[in-house]
Amino acid sequence: MTASDPLVEFRSVKKSYGTFEAVKGLDLTIGRGEFVAIMGPSGCGKTTTLRMLAGLEAPTAGTIRIDGREMNDVAVHERDTPLVWQSLALFPFLNVKENVEFGLKMRGIGAQERSDRAMLWLDRMGLKGFETRPIDALSGGQRQRVALARSLVTEPEMLLLDEPLSALDAHLVIRMQGVLTKLQKELGITFVYVTHSQSEAFAMADRVVIMGQGEIAQIGKPQEIFRAPQNRFVAEFVGRNNILSGEVAGGAITIDGVTCPLPGAPDGAAEIVVAADRMTIHADDPGKGALPADFVSEEFAGTGIICYFEGPSGEELKAQVSEAQLAELAPEPGRRFWLSWAPEAAHSLTA
């Protein structure tokens, strides 16, 4: 990630469709060899952003640079920004090898070299022996790899991916995540990956861009996004977070009459976020700094169990526990517990 020599630069990029602003002034730099995930709910502008990078949409305002070159007036077919579609968009009237060769053929590369390079990529993607198969005779995972080979055969500097795993079975998603991460490391090229799935973004990306309503809500490493969400939108989108409002005075926050230390925070109204796995559940009132909470339900979440509570003013509170802890607490709906957190686990939201 060399900030001085970025591969991609978005400068105040806007995209509107009529009166609807899909992207409202985007500033983003993407480094060479970086794996960036753009994540957000549907309609947040993430796919539009990716399509503008590929040239499939023209920005209404602002500039996009790739490798220092302004791309606004460069036609789609003159760019080298291959995209992997959610539907894969493999050509059904061509066989596997012809699909992979397509980009090379369009660049006027001779038949022999085309064939050699396509075979190399088919081999690399574990598709040797499938070259003459029609596309509809392949499994979902195989098609995925054909789409990757087709995009990478021209050896581009970056690969764009638009929710490529969302149509796959869960077990295949995990496997393809491994394939993609390994591929990106081996090739050392930039991956720009659009998804609405947190687990995909956090599992693969070096940096995650969270978008909401056409704007960037936060950019950071997966852990930063998870541990230090900058605003309510990110905290809610990431989930498994408690968002609490209160009044700060003298380095402590008062929430629903309960005062907890919040060192370094300026006085005034504030919102803090505490991750569910940083919450401690007490069966008895520990005395101070714990919010009374009535148990509502529990949810098995793979890595642990999320317990849901109702706080003093009706807000939803979450705490993550292990199975053993749950058995020990033996909660029943309506039973009163107390939730507390270490001061360093609380994180102030800016907006």
Partner: protein, 280 residues
């Protein structure tokens, strides 16, 4: 409980089967049989002789008419496909859904009037002293002889098939997955390569169906070659009419008709095979 075969679906299929049996298979068999009959004293007599076949197939005028018909139909289908394509392309990719719907509607409107009426209208328009020559005369061109020529016949063929070919092509082009077109551009295909390497292959079935419909309709056409093409050279359909009129030679006309049907079957089979051919 064993499942009883349901009678219900067969009840609905039966009318079509009866119709096809009575009015297609039946006459077809009769026609094939008739081609082996004899005409004595201007009257047909059932028989089994190869005289009619021998007579027609050994004559130059039959083969002249056959090739004229075949080549004209091929030309008409090619011309209709080429003329229709830019319009279909524009309707499929360059217009809104609303415009496309209205265009399809207006392409159906010509079928409201009898084809014969439209051909009579062309007779007036294409006449030696007709409006078209008058307009061309204003810019110092012509007058051209357009009636009773191959050109005249071709105008009639286009009147018949062009709207249909545009409709078929438009539907097949509009049905192409837009992602495929974007993927082609994304992989470096310029507009021309996108058209020839992706759009045409992806719409192949519809384009071939449009072509073969135009071929079938013009191959058996009688009105255009007769009223606008001047019957000279005669097409197979004109030959059939002439043969039945001269000496009640229905069996010889049946020979021509059987050959036409065989040709159309082969053409249709070839077209469908080409349209659905799998690449290995």
């Amino acid at each position: 409980m064993a499942k009883r075969p349901s009678v219900y679906p067969y009840v609905w299929r039966l009318p079509l089967l009866i119709w096809q049996g009575l009015f297609f298979i039946g006459p077809l068999c009769l026609m094939v049989a008739m081609s082996f009959w004899l005409v004595r004293n201007y009257r047909m007599e059932p028989d089994f002789v190869f005289k009619n076949w021998d007579r027609m197939l050994s004559r130059g005028f039959f083969w002249d008419a056959y090739w004229v018909t075949f080549l004209r139909a091929t030309l008409a289908a090619t011309l209709a496909s080429l003329l229709a394509f830019p319009a279909s392309f524009a309707l499929a990719f360059r217009t809104s859904e609303t415009v496309r719907r209205w265009a399809i509607f207006f392409l159906i409107v010509p079928f409201f009037t009898s084809y014969l009426v439209r051909i009579y209208a062309w007779q007036v328009l294409l006449a030696g002293n007709g409006p078209l020559n008058a307009i061309l005369g204003l810019v110092g061109l012509g007058p051209f002889t357009m009636l009773s020529t191959g050109f005249g016949a071709m105008v009639g063929y286009m009147t018949l098939v062009l709207p249909l070919v545009v409709i078929l092509q438009t539907f097949s082009l509009a049905a192409i997955d837009r992602n495929l077109i974007e993927a082609a551009r994304n992989l470096g295909a310029n507009p021309r390569a996108t058209l020839f390497q992706v759009i045409i292959p992806a719409a192949k079935v519809g384009l071939i169906i449009g072509f073969i419909f135009a071929f079938i309709l013009t191959f058996g056409e009688f009105v255009s070659p007769f009223y606008l093409g001047g019957s000279n050279p005669p097409t197979l359909s004109i030959l059939i009419v002439d043969t039945t009129k001269s000496g009640q030679q229905w069996p010889r006309a049946a020979v021509v008709a059987v050959i036409m049907i065989v040709t159309l079957f082969l053409a249709a089979f070839a077209a469908v095979a080409a349209a659905y051919r799998r690449r290995s």
